[in-house]
Amino acid sequence: MRPDDAELDEEIRSNLALNIQERIERGEDPQSARRAALDEFGSLQSTRDAMHRVWYSRWSDAMLLLLQEMRIGLRSLLRTRGLAITVIVTLALGIGANAAIFSVVRSVLLRPLVNRDADRLLYIRQTAPGIGTENLTFSMPEIADLEARVKSISAFGDFSTVDFTLIGFGEEPRVVTAGVVNGSFFEVMGLRPVLGRLINAGDDGPTAPPVAVLTHRFWATVLHSDPAVVGKIIRLGPGNATVVGVLEPSVPYPAETQIIANVVTSPHHLGATMQKERWHRMTDLFGRLAPGATLEGARAELKAVHASMVQAHPESYSAAARIGLDVKTLRDQLASPARTILLLLLAAAAVVFVIACSNVANLVLARSVRRESELAVRAALGASRGALRRTLLAESLVLCVAGAALGLLLAKPLVAVAARYAARFSVRALEATVDAGVLWLGAGLALLAAVLLAYVPRLPSSGRSSALSRAAGGVRITPGTSRRLKIFATTQIACSFLLLVGAGMLVATLNAMSTANTGYDMRHVLAVDVPPPAPGAGGKATENFFQEATRRIGALPGVEGVASGMVVPWRDPLSSVLKLQFGFEAYQPANREENPTCMFRPVSPQFFALLGVPIVAGRDFTDHDRPDAEPVAIVSQSVAQRVFRNAEAVNRHLWLDPRAGFEPQRRRIVGVVADVDDENVVQVPTMTVYLPWRQFGEPSRLFVRAATDPYALVPAVTRTLHDISADQAVERAATLEDVRTQVLTPQRLNAFVFSAFGGIALLIAVVGVAGVLAFSVGARTREFGIRLAVGCEPRQLRAGVLGEGAVIAAAGILVGGLGGAALTWVASRLFGVAQMPGPLPVAGAAALLVTAAILASLLPAVRASRVDVIQALRSE
């Protein structure tokens, strides 16, 4: 529709012709008619410009020009394909990494929750800094106290988990984790059902009918979004429950569960321990701010009520543990564990982007120096500086747009990887997707890079004779350009150094963790979860089941031994719960100190032998340690050392602290075993008390020692267990070695991600250094030629170029080291959690970089020493 300039010209021309024609018809002679018409018309140019401006704004003119320049730029880049591809890939890596990390950061830290009025939804926790616990959770009596007295919270929702064996939906028995909640939980959370209804106040109390709500993920993945699920009756642990609804998709916090049920479904929750014992803490607490109340006000009131509660029940709150209370919005609670790691990742991605940009800047700079002659000719012919800049901008835009496009393609798989990675720190990471926001970020980064790159090269000073003389001379490097090239290369080395040291730290940590001696024989032991239908529902039946299982599995071919316990090392969340205070014979705690807290582990006979834990003194448990026999215990070496000061521990007595609600029954210590830590991946000396499982507790984990491949035994073991009890769930069979590997996954991933960043940075930096030196050698061909001609050894030239590379690397490492130290200082000021790297990662990263820089300068060095003297001298 819009007329182009040719049409405007034609219109003017035709009107002029009409005018002339008219005049001729009136009798003027053609010559003067033409002159008069032109005279009457006025300025052709300004009229045409005014017509043009009606249709085209200045802005669109500029864009059109730029597009045209971009077409030219594209053509000229196609001629230097290698350079273009290097630049595009480098930018793509930088932009892709940033886009991926950004989308995860946004979904974890910035995106709102689905919960109604999420900024008034609070997560309340008890802290115990004295025993290093950030979240002690609550017991029911504590919750009742808070509920009765806190006014700034309109309603409390409580949530605890319990494992049930679920039978129903026409599937195999499976163990599900269920959230057990009170009637106001969903109201407090502000969540809605997608089907049926949620649990409400009518479902509270021990007499309500048992009901369950399915979580959206379980309903969608396992039940394939079956709409007829509401109203079904399922077997949940010891009893039945009716499915009343399906929850909308929401953040699974504090735990990923398959179903959420009311209190009456869990015998444990109805039991006296749960209801009455102040120390029995297993419940997460949510609250909704009352109208008009603020977070600060609620925090102050909660803290005050909590403090008076602690004062009223001194027996339940150890002074040494310094139990306190804190409250955050749920959103902050969800984001806080991931914040540090995500910000670190964001910083790493930004560093990679800086490296990528400076590398690209180098390449572009080198290229622009090579075409200085072209620019100089254009300047001499009258091209304005703006026009030259536009040419450069058009070219860098082509590069950056291509880089961004490729980067965003990369971003999609990268987001998936990054989300799965970050999900270990915050479940919200799973919501991360590539969307418009990420695309804008990519476009923004590309534009930023393009503008930076267009302003990197110096323009030839227009109209000077020097420009044209340079135009004739081909490549000639100016000191300014050379300095800039080296600054960029140094920046890259400095940034790579930072990333490599960071990655080195993480790898060193991981290495220390995974090679640490655990005290277990991990390779041949298979651990299997064999949970009772629901906690507290087993009793005698469970005991018989495990005895029978031990006997039958022990008879299987290839099995060297069977034992049972309650905790699979590192895997079971229970490991931290099974901790109690113990009293010891002839041991008086120092003034105002508590009785020592020890892990306690009910285990079967043969447990130590099976897992390779040496018995240092005394004996193992035997089948004779029955409930009716003498109460006995085995302690770990730490207990013997700390409590009995290395004196003989065997035959002394210990007892469970009566304040924890146990009868003060004295148990004779019959053995001492080596220390093992089944809770922390990094082993710390652990005081552990082992009790014979028939006298205390209820086993739920089976350990099978295999002669050969432990996994080959899994089918036979499962079959045997199902033979004994068809409804028994059998799950998560794995060797201890694999359990540990699994547990170390976050560390492994951290190390992997940062190593990947470091590797990318190193690669880019090597390309950068090699490029700078190759360029500087290329530009100094003549100098090298002369030096060779006057008798300089090629060896000296090689050494000179290698030295240049080494200087760049050394300067980069120095700058990087200083920068790193500054960053650490800032981080320790801001977060208080900065860790200085050990000497090994620093030295390793420095050595790696210097080696890489020297390798990168080898090729240019060899080229320098092989300069053809005649050719070089003739070149000008």
Partner: protein, 119 residues
């Protein structure tokens, strides 16, 4: 472009050029040169529209949808771009004409107050 002080032609009032163009096209399509001539002739040589304003104004009116342009042949068989009123242009002409006559009346009252109507 420059103008001598004794030039008898009148300066066009701001905003009236569009109206004049629409008016000259009332009875059928014309080309740019013809429009310029028509304004000049009908004003008895008092108004002379600069081509530097006329041609951009034509394009502006096309862009606003009041005129339509198409290439055709003049009486002398010369190729020329013809402009004609669109229905929207016709409506605009009527609006501008109203506004103009109101303006003239208002200014006329101020410049030549009728003594009879004062009291």
């Amino acid at each position: 472009m420059t103008r001598t002080p004794d030039d008898p032609r009148l300066e066009l009032l701001q905003g009236t050029l569009d109206m004049l163009i629409l008016r000259t096209l009332q009875w059928g399509p014309r080309h740019g040169h013809g429009i310029g001539q028509a304004i000049r002739r009908q004003s008895e040589e008092l108004l002379k529209v600069e081509t530097g304003s006329l041609y951009p104004a034509l394009h502006r009116l096309v862009k606003r949808g009041w005129l339509k342009s198409e290439w055709g042949l003049s009486e002398a068989n010369q190729r020329a771009k013809f402009y004609r009123l669109t229905p929207a242009g016709r409506a605009q002409l009527i609006r501008e004409q109203d506004r103009w006559s109101q303006l003239v009346r208002a200014i006329g009252r101020i410049m030549n107050p009728a003594p009879a109507s004062e009291e």
